[in-house]
Symmetry: D2
Subunit: 134 residues, 4 copies
């Protein structure tokens, strides 16, 4: 399954007094891209909620390569970096007009009724979709 990159156009209110996109907003763009990616995998937020899956962020890392600013369109590609029994690590690459602006990672676990779940057992379809995503 080949997934489409996500696009975020930087909004005026996302800039700061240096004239660039405030670095905290990249964490939000990661979330946007991740939710879009889940949608593409057939596991949108509504389905996650309906199936009682809660998937908190346990860590984020963001490496800023170049600044961006108002109206820049950031293209985000997202890959599974690691998928263990209970933990998912995603890798993000962000580009503006082909130029690398940011690389990032986020790690997630999955909860089912408040308790950590083994992804492959509890959500086999999601597990398969993530393994096959490119």
């Amino acid at each position: 399954m080949t997934l489409q990159p996500y696009h975020h156009e930087v909004r005026y209110y996302e800039t700061d007094k240096m004239g660039v996109t405030h670095h905290s907003n990249y964490i939000r763009i990661m979330e946007e891209a991740r939710l879009d990616w889940m949608d593409q995998l057939g596991y949108g937020f509504e389905r996650m909620e309906a199936e009682g899956i809660v998937s908190p962020v346990t860590s984020v890392t963001c490496n800023y390569k170049k600044t961006t600013t108002f109206k820049d369109v950031i293209e985000v590609t997202l890959k599974v970096k690691q998928l263990s029994e209970i933990r998912l690590t995603l890798a993000y690459t962000m580009r503006v007009r082909g130029q690398l602006v940011c690389t990032a990672e986020s790690t997630h676990c999955f909860f089912d009724g408040g308790r950590p779940a083994v992804i492959a057992e509890r959500f086999p379809e999601l597990y398969r979709a993530m393994m096959e995503a490119e």
Copy 2:
């Protein structure tokens, strides 16, 4: 009952590429000041929640007089402008070093178990506290 003004120090990420506090943040500062004011009235968020009071914002108006920027300390004073059976209107005055930077208003209704409530009947103590606040 004399209430204390609320102080908000402008954060770096609240500025925009014009170098000033983005105008949307004043709406957030109004909320901070309002929740602090409710606390001072003895009706903090926890008590509101415990008593099942939900008080949504039905409108806001904000008049920008002067720009502010990073590290400015905005002093907010808050008065009851109008208190009808089912609607509360608050007036906000924001100053930096004595200079007026913004005047604003917000209107709220009160819900009890999902239905609009007559404030004086359903929450007499809160009603009295708001009538006496200065």
Copy 3:
């Protein structure tokens, strides 16, 4: 000249603990819609900047009709409500799936080199575009 409405899909981080879009975000959506509208009028941000036009917000008013939440697509239509010599008032109507969720207004003045400018004289093309926009 017939302009296209603007669409904003509510992001997860725009919701609050009530489960709805935080009311401050509508002020940001107004800005997004306004900048898009200026683009459509042929007066995008870059051109404004290049021509030395600065157009601060002098007031906003927002009337909340219905709550919205994550993934709702808010359609914003924007009209000139009043255009005087030195002041522009815009009216916004926001709908989700045809239902009215918010009406709003913003007022702006125009500065040229730091001083208030008479719009029709200093920016005749922009003035004409705004008068003819629908």
Copy 4:
């Protein structure tokens, strides 16, 4: 030189529909704590600007240990983790009522007139203050 921890009280608008502080806000709290720490070192933002120092964030990492929510007071302590010729890494520990909620790091370089600067040479007083901070 012993520095004071920084305190951030979580605002209502910083929560999301899960009822907890949205994870992106911790990156902003790190910035608040860092600017406060620079102030305590005698190198506040105004002085940085006056001396032409620009110090962008080159990376951030955030490990979420426990959720926080509205009204929680997050205490942030900040230490120099590494200070090389051209790079500063800071380590953050965030606690609520003594409980660890988040650990984080940020890395910064220093620019002087647009070019990377050797911290100890170009800003010897700041370098010394950072080396001695506890």
